[in-house]
């Protein structure tokens, strides 16, 4: 297993001005934040702005996060709220442009903002798997990501070449790596994952 810094450790390093720790945090949570943004059907440039805004807000408020273990929830909540604000502003601008009634109730589109428990649970589980893979590290992480995280049917020959292993060893190695990952995920509480982003302070509001 590779060296793994917990969120509280990384946050503490960030507070001391360690930009390498910051890069690890961004790396760890990039997909979580992006997946929340994707759910809100943002335009590409809006999505990129929200992503940047969320991490800029984290830099700004890094001393204010009292529950370091709740960083995932904080990120999800901050991302959701920023998405809502950007979406609401876009709808407001659109309505103004069309000179239509700008009743604020009509700009909120509550359906977009409703996040059911299953979605939140799925977010939490996916983040646990990302963290599990990070803890797994090494060739196991590379192999599982190549097999299941590429979004396409795996090409065993290419994977074997890339990871410098024999094609015939992919199956047995995959089984061993899945077994190790399952043990890590068990320790992380995978399957009992809480919803993320359901309860978290709005630090933006406190600016």
């Amino acid at each position: 297993m590779s060296g793994f810094d917990s969120d509280p450790t990384l946050l503490e390093r960030c507070r001391r001005g360690d930009s390498a720790a910051w890069s690890l945090l961004v790396e760890r949570y990039r997909r979580l934040v992006w997946s929340v943004i994707l759910k809100h059907r943002m335009r590409q440039e809006e999505a990129e702005d929200v992503f940047q805004h969320v991490f800029a807000t984290l830099v700004q408020h890094i001393d204010s996060i009292t529950d370091d273990a709740g960083l995932a929830s904080w990120l999800v909540t901050t991302t959701k709220r920023r998405c809502w604000r950007v979406g609401a502003q876009r709808r407001k601008d659109g309505e103004r442009a069309r000179s239509l009634d700008s009743d604020p109730e009509k700009t909120m589109d509550p359906v977009d903002e409703r996040e059911d428990a299953a979605d939140s649970r799925a977010l939490g589980e996916k983040q646990l798997v990302r963290i599990g893979l990070e803890q797994l590290g090494g060739k196991c992480k590379d192999l599982l990501e190549a097999l299941f995280g590429a979004g396409a049917e795996p090409n065993y020959n290419l994977i074997a070449e890339k990871l410098d292993i024999r094609v015939g060893s992919i199956g047995p190695t995959r089984a061993r790596c899945l077994e190790k990952l399952s043990k890590i995920l068990g320790r992380l509480g995978f399957g009992d994952a809480d919803e993320v982003g359901s309860e978290s302070p709005d630090l933006e509001a406190g600016k």
Binding site: R31, K126, A150, L185
Partner: protein, 236 residues
């Protein structure tokens, strides 16, 4: 081949479970593993764990943000580095002795480029004096500015040689080198700091755009002797 039999009758290996969880192996193997899972709770749990993990990994494949967006977010770490620079700024703390280690002592220049031997407090103090730090390409300009309330201020700016503003901490030091007042440059690089009668030197700690600290600059405020009578009673 892993030969870990969960049930002697079923003879299912962990590799076969992984194959089925990955959606490979064909109907015959799937039926064999499913049958084993139905009669052996351990097989069932492992199949479920593998399947859940694989489902989560596959579902995550489309949630990779663009690399340049991630790179920009990582670049925000520079702001954290500047926090570290601020926290270790040698002149940031009032009431503490200024650490001269690594500091560069310069002199003010008059507008005509001549050396202003007595610094800002001399009798031609109305002039804007200038100090140029060639290595950092930074210019510090300052002048004494008496205000109506009797307070004399040192007002100035810290800028790059191309006139872009520079973030900097400005501190006044007394004769013993203690920090007696500080100010930060604003968004246009300006600072204003009450010039008390015991101020003898000004120290400027400027930061590059990356947040990195340039060597601190120390400039004289005037002769080390007593301040001019005009300055006596100036509020701090």
């Amino acid at each position: 081949m892993t030969s870990w039999n969960f049930n002697p009758r079923q003879k299912v290996t962990i590799e076969q479970i992984a194959t089925v969880a990955a959606g490979e192996g064909g109907p015959a193997l799937e039926a064999q593993v499913r049958a084993a899972a139905s009669s052996d709770q351990r097989v069932s749990e492992i199949l479920k764990d593998f399947s859940n993990a694989i489902t989560a990994m596959r579902g995550d494949a489309m949630t990779e943000p663009p690399a340049d967006v991630v790179a920009r977010a990582k670049a925000l770490g520079v702001r954290l580095e500047s926090r570290r620079a601020e926290s270790t700024s040698p002149i940031a703390i009032l009431g503490q002795a200024f650490d001269r280690a690594g500091a560069v002592v310069l002199d003010w220049l008059r507008p005509d480029g001549e050396l202003a031997l007595a610094g800002v407090r001399d009798d031609r103090g109305a002039d804007v004096l200038e100090a140029v730090i060639d290595s950092a390409e930074i210019v510090i300009r300052a002048e004494r500015t008496p205000a109506q309330n009797g307070i004399v201020r040192l007002v100035g700016e810290v800028a790059r040689t191309d006139d872009m503003p520079v973030r900097a901490t400005v501190a006044l030091l007394d004769a013993s080198g203690m920090v007696i007042a500080t100010d930060e440059t604003d968004s246009i690089g300006m600072f204003a700091i009450a010039l008390t009668s015991d101020a003898r030197e000004v120290a400027v700690s400027a930061r590059a755009a990356t947040g990195e600290l340039h060597p601190t600059i120390v400039l004289p405020l005037g002769p080390a002797s007593k301040p001019t009578s005009k300055d006596e009673g100036a509020a701090g």
